[in-house]
């Protein structure tokens, strides 16, 4: 099973990877804040993009990998842009810079995850006094994302074995819905067992 797609390149050994997680986290947060206050101009955005590009090149994380990962913002961005197109009198340039701002922010975050192991990142967030409930949830998401993905992969493999040559795109929507439903049920059952394991180790509703 593949187990490395969330922070695939975070265990590389480059000067950027060796930087403290806290420093990189603060750098990215400041960068995103700076982006939000940036004026709409090509020079500013070239500087912002260029700075990030230098960091990416130094970190040796493949550009195509980061680019593809950063496209996760596209569906959300598309929704926002539709509303903007309706509400703004001259939306063209404004929409372009909003898109650039959002995309660069996500690219910076993907770069951060790709250069810092997730547990290190959580440790840095703890030092920044981010509430422990959020950190616990992030930790769970990280831990169980792999298991869920494993289960999903196994189920799709099983579908492949019994779909007799039909490609994924040819399968009925109903099949996908059923697979997702089963995956949800399995996740729910697992969450019950995890909660029981937590109770066995002294966890209370109040937490600690």
């Amino acid at each position: 099973m593949k187990h490395d797609f969330l922070d695939k390149y975070s265990y590389l050994d480059t000067p950027i990877h060796r930087l403290p997680a806290m420093l990189k986290l603060i750098l990215v947060l400041v960068y995103i804040l700076w982006l939000t206050s940036l004026k709409n101009g090509w020079v500013e955005y070239c500087l912002a993009g260029g700075g990030l590009l230098i960091l990416i090149l130094f970190s040796q994380v493949p550009l195509t990998y980061l680019f593809l990962r950063s496209l996760v913002i596209v569906p959300f961005l598309a929704l926002i842009l539709i509303f903007m197109a309706i509400s703004q009198p001259e939306p063209g340039e404004f929409m372009l810079f909003v898109s650039l701002r959002a995309w660069l922010s996500v690219l910076a975050l993907v770069w951060l995850i790709s250069t810092t192991p997730f547990p290190e990142l959580l440790k840095a967030m703890r030092k920044l006094r981010i509430p422990s409930i959020i950190l616990t949830l992030l930790g769970f998401i990280y831990r169980y994302f792999f298991l869920l993905s494993d289960e999903g992969q196994r189920m799709f493999r099983s579908v492949k074995m019994r779909s007799f040559g039909k490609k994924k795109s040819q399968l009925e929507i109903k099949t996908y819905a059923q697979i997702l439903g089963t995956l949800f049920l399995r996740s729910y059952e697992r969450s019950e067992r995890v909660y029981q394991a937590m109770l066995m180790r002294g966890f209370t509703e109040e937490g600690r």
């Binding site: 187990h3 997730f118 547990p119 959580l122 930790g139 769970f140 990280y142 831990r143 169980y144 792999f146 298991l147 697992r190 067992r193 995890v194 029981q196 394991a197 937590m198 109770l199 066995m200 180790r201 002294g202 966890f203 209370t204 600690r208």
Partner: protein
């Protein structure tokens, strides 16, 4: 006065919300320091029984842990005396790193940071897991995961250990190593398993369940070497006992 029994079950029953009766009037006692095996076919109610002993499900009947009656109000307190090793270690390793996972229980027991560090280190060393502190659960082999899950249980030094299929899905070497570890652990133990060779090696007494009912209870070798009893409840006489009877 402390009870002479580590664990006492009296008429324990449990019914699933869909009406399926998973446990029917189960009663038995376990002495301190005793190792008891619970065997039975799939769906016999073995795992449900462990969940009831830990107070993780609401059952009918009585369960006493060192003489104290288990109720919903004192289950948090009594669970400190119990350690449950789940069948799937993925359910038990829920933190991003092994250190945090092993330290989870002690933190919730309110131990000092210094004590937690010392105990976590010692437990990992005991199980041959030195250097695993900063590793992530999902990067480990199944055998390693299983040992890490055991570390999360042992670090809290429970008085009664409950094992749910401890050797399932392990390769022969990992299985052998795991059995050797279990052999070295002292204290009261209840082991649920289909691995009857392991039950034979580790336990002195077994309880057989089938369809939620207690079928029989007795000395391990005597019960496991009874082919009629084993086969009528979806089990088999272990190969080592068959060989022994064949030679003799």
């Amino acid at each position: 006065m402390k009870s002479k029994w580590a664990l006492e079950l009296k008429n324990v029953s449990y019914q699933y919300p869909d009406g399926h009766q998973a446990l029917k009037e189960i009663s038995f006692k376990v002495a301190p320091g005793e190792r008891v095996g619970i065997i039975g076919p799939n769906g016999a109610g073995k795992t449900t029984l462990l969940l009831a002993i830990c107070g993780l499900i609401e059952f009918k009947g009585e369960i006493k842990i060192f003489g104290e009656l288990l109720t919903s109000s004192n289950s948090h307190y009594l669970r400190r005396k119990l350690g449950l090793l789940f069948q799937d270690p993925n359910d038990q390793l829920f933190m991003p790193r092994i250190y945090e996972d092993v330290a989870f229980g002690p933190k919730h027991l309110g131990w000092s940071e210094e004590e937690i560090q010392r105990k976590v280190k010692a437990t990992l060393k005991k199980l041959g897991l030195e250097g695993f502190e900063s590793r992530s659960g999902h990067h480990l082999s199944f055998g390693e995961k299983k040992r890490c899950a055991l570390a999360t249980v042992l670090v809290m030094e429970p008085e009664i250990l409950l094992f749910d299929e401890p050797t399932s899905n392990l390769d022969p070497r990992a299985r052998r190593e795991f059995i050797n570890i279990l052999k070295q652990i002292l204290g009261t133990q209840i082991i649920i398993s289909h691995d009857l060779e392991m039950i034979l090696r580790l336990t002195s007494r077994v309880i057989t369940l089938d369809k939620g009912e207690k079928i029989c209870e007795g000395e391990t070798q005597e019960i496991l070497s009874n082919p009629q009893l084993m086969e009528s409840h979806g089990l088999e006489v272990p190969a080592s006992l068959l060989l022994k009877s064949y030679i003799s």
